[in-house]
């Protein structure tokens, strides 16, 4: 995108809590311009948004405390390309049982939080991901959720061997249970930037 002389896409990274710095670094490595989002004013002129890993209870509270919830609900429903990783997927999901605060409820998926148990059951494994050409994708699952319900307009992007859905896409929305920002393999970030390009969303609100 920088190579054809146009502006690099401006991708917001929700920076309330979690590993937002890792996402920002991955975006920079892919030629995009990351923008840390902590307040509604930071949403102006974004081409896309990433909700990072972290603690979903903490992120949900801070979304509410500083007036980000409603503008983000509006933006994600009106077509702003948005990707949630792990806690971020929980924040995006329409159904997240146990999350005791409102979330963006933008994507037609249900998630089961912390589906694999405590940290000693966190794991890494290779995933076959058809949307990413080539070799398997090394995925890092840290106290991860699974996507246990997929709406009719949602496509499955990746599954574990037992069939558990761990990545899904609904048009401009992407959710992954795992953390592509931790591996140095930037193919998921490039996939998301492809969604951003396809959506070519006219610079959304937040003025």
């Amino acid at each position: 995108m920088t190579t054809n002389g146009t502006q690099p896409p401006r991708i917001g990274v929700l920076a309330l809590q979690g590993d937002f710095a890792e996402h920002a670094a991955s975006l920079r490595a892919c030629g995009a311009e990351p923008v840390e989002v902590r307040l509604p004013a930071d949403l102006a002129g974004l081409d896309g948004l990433i909700i990072p890993g972290g603690e979903s209870t903490t992120i949900a509270r801070l979304l509410d405390a500083y007036g980000l919830l409603e503008p983000l609900q509006a933006l994600t429903r009106s077509g702003l390309p948005t990707w949630g990783t792990c806690a971020g997927a929980i924040i995006l999901a329409k159904r997240a049982p146990g999350l005791d605060r409102p979330n963006l409820a933008a994507m037609d998926i249900g998630v089961q939080r912390n589906a694999f148990g405590s940290q000693k059951d966190s794991f890494e494994t290779d995933l076959a991901v058809a949307a990413l050409n080539g070799r398997p994708y090394r995925a890092i699952f840290i106290r991860a959720p699974i996507i246990d319900e997929v709406g009719p307009r949602t496509e499955i992007v990746a599954q574990l061997e037992d069939g558990s859905v761990v990545a899904a896409r609904q048009g401009h929305l992407l959710a992954t249970s795992f953390h592509p920002e931790l591996t140095g393999d930037d193919r998921f970030h490039r996939y998301f930037l492809q969604i951003v390009r396809e959506s070519a969303h006219p610079a959304p609100g937040g003025k």
Partner: protein, 295 residues
Amino acid sequence: MAVEKGTWLLKRGLAQMLKGGVIMDVVTPEQATIAEEAGACAVMALERVPADIRAAGGVARMSDPDMIIGIKEAVTIPVMAKARIGHFVEAQVLEALGIDYIDESEVLTPADEAHHINKHDFRVPFVCGCRNLGEALRRIAEGAAMIRTKGEAGTGDIVEAVRHMRALWDDIRRLQNMPEEEIYTAAKELQAPYDLVKEVHDIGRLPVVNFSAGGVATPADAALMMQLGAEGVFVGSGIFKSDNPAVRAKAIVKAVTHYNNPEILAEVSRGLGEAMRGTSARSLAPEQQLAGRGW
């Protein structure tokens, strides 16, 4: 396809998920619920907060497993617990209980005055304290996947936390500017493995997440540590030894997210009631100072 557990990426990765957050000491399931409600990114389950450990004297050990299980059942956020320095069996017990992170902590009475736990032996990750770069890298060499600067726990006095954070970054900056041929001697002086010293020289930071601990009592203290280079904070006695723990806990969570925004810091600093009374770290006799424990 093969599934791997307990890898370095997973251990370090959980600490990365805690960044920008506040880890709160709690001693009951009720306190854990208050901490989670306030937005803590994790809780540290222990029998007494450091201020009470100081007051009680005696030997401070790993907490009662029943208490830890009660706290685990009360919240969905990660639960950490402390083991004594060098007490690898306490760590085995905590791992068996399904604790998410073990703090090999100077706040408890050390079990070994020469050796820390070999943390590579465990699937559960460890956080350890440090006062400077050498100490941090020795802990990482032993397998710590997260570091916290020590401060002086249970005092409510931020001065030691500042000292340790500044010392750590001072060491890192010095190393970063060093020509490569001097790194061998630097490793000797830091008493840390060459490979880790070289890595810090190359990347200009610790290879794991670093929080601040020991003495945070106000939102401004928390933001101070963030501006000095912490990636998150531990708050021990500062919350539940204050007048209004729920309100103060929320304020400290907001202060860590918006640590660079003085308007928000001013707003969250209002109406908190009295902070913990505290003890000046300078007034402690050497044997009362916890930060000196660890080798």
